[in-house]
Symmetry: C2
Subunit: 271 residues, 2 copies
Amino acid sequence: MNILVTLDRNYLRPLRVMLGSLFFNNPGAAFHIYLIGDSLTQVDLADLSALCGTRHTLHPLTVPETLFKEAPVVRYYSRAMYYRLLAAQLLPKDLDRILYLDPDILVINPVQPLYETNLGSFLMAAATHSGLFSGISDQVNRMRLDNYEAEAYFNSGVLVMNLAAMRHAVRAEDIYAYAREHADLLILPDQDILNGLYGARILEVDDSLWNYDARKYERYWMTSQGERDMDWVMEHTSILHFCGKNKPWSQGYMGYFAALYKHYQHLLERQ
Amino acid sequence: MNILVTLDRNYLRPLRVMLGSLFFNNPGAAFHIYLIGDSLTQVDLADLSALCGTRHTLHPLTVPETLFKEAPVVRYYSRAMYYRLLAAQLLPKDLDRILYLDPDILVINPVQPLYETNLGSFLMAAATHSGLFSGISDQVNRMRLDNYEAEAYFNSGVLVMNLAAMRHAVRAEDIYAYAREHADLLILPDQDILNGLYGARILEVDDSLWNYDARKYERYWMTSQGERDMDWVMEHTSILHFCGKNKPWSQGYMGYFAALYKHYQHLLERQ
């Protein structure tokens, strides 16, 4: 399975935890980890390569400067925000599918069923957190992002990418134009651009399985009439996503999944 | 390292989780698991033996009927309550040390430092939960159990046993006599007898490392002025003990360590 991660050095520790949990909870699977990140040192790369061991393979990619010479800088965001949107251009041409994963994720069960999602002509598969009444409604997002075809507002932390389709449909100049036009309205620029430009061509997958918002245990529990309790989550959920500002690697982070995350973090550091 | 477990069939699932977590978090260690339990079937034993794999060894022990012919039955407790107290008599004579572990335990870090505790002439090493203001005070326990030499009331869920010393000091007839005399005052009979008869000969070890009461995260945090937060626990604590009536394998169990326990439980069932 192909996995895409894009990051800067500040997320190296969580990236190790994410990858370590991915490897551990997918026994028997061999992963190709494609890494787009500017600021990693040779030591960082050697460390990640050691984590991959002999079963998995790390592929660090270099980003051609030319691809970004027209890119607008939206507020304080760096060009790294475009990496996942432009993944199809940056990845080797012989890859037709890849699973993008944010570093603030803990994988606790196999991801193969997600990876094998039948994408048809969809550009991607992704989950929405909007059934959880999170802040901004789908309706407001449709207006804000000027996209009335989109069914929902997708979270961009977990994306199954149909690279063949994306190579035809996703163009850097569209993305830059959209970013320029909507600069003042963008809240999470990469996620907003993804939804604004391509929301109607994203296949929805179940967030409680593939992009579980770790802040919202009670809401999943309530909206499922108590079915999705902690036993259910540990048995069925594959991807816990620690969305929001409070991150589980911070000292003092608490919550239902704090011990689980920090145990993995410690295991990865103990190695 | 030698490990002692005593159980009935109702605790087979938790026992698997306890042993699985012990093996996983003590990489490189080879364990000899001595099992005293009456009601296990051949299938149960084969299942536990499979869990031990090639690295660890299961030693099921048979209990001689004669040892218990004088044993009083205290209320609804079975003779199994005496197994851990009489471990030195039941185990092979060539063992000089063993670590007893309750099945309602999750091991999250190595146990070797505990195992190697310098016991001197102490019969055992154990932790007390009394610094956590749990229900009954040391003073009341000293009176109740008629033992004014005991420094503290020890929890009997984790015991490093000095078998050589116990073979001389621990006698079945003393235990039965004590059980008969104090029958009406015993709350947790095996733990009470342990403290009542041998409390003064038990070496105290740090419960926050070796017998962490999983119900009491906040109290450990408070009594340490915030030092023992979740990061500290995941890094330093080796043995999480799920004391009390609410057990982490129950549907609906919640708490700071619920996700961690249930994840291990699921891993052990996924195998």
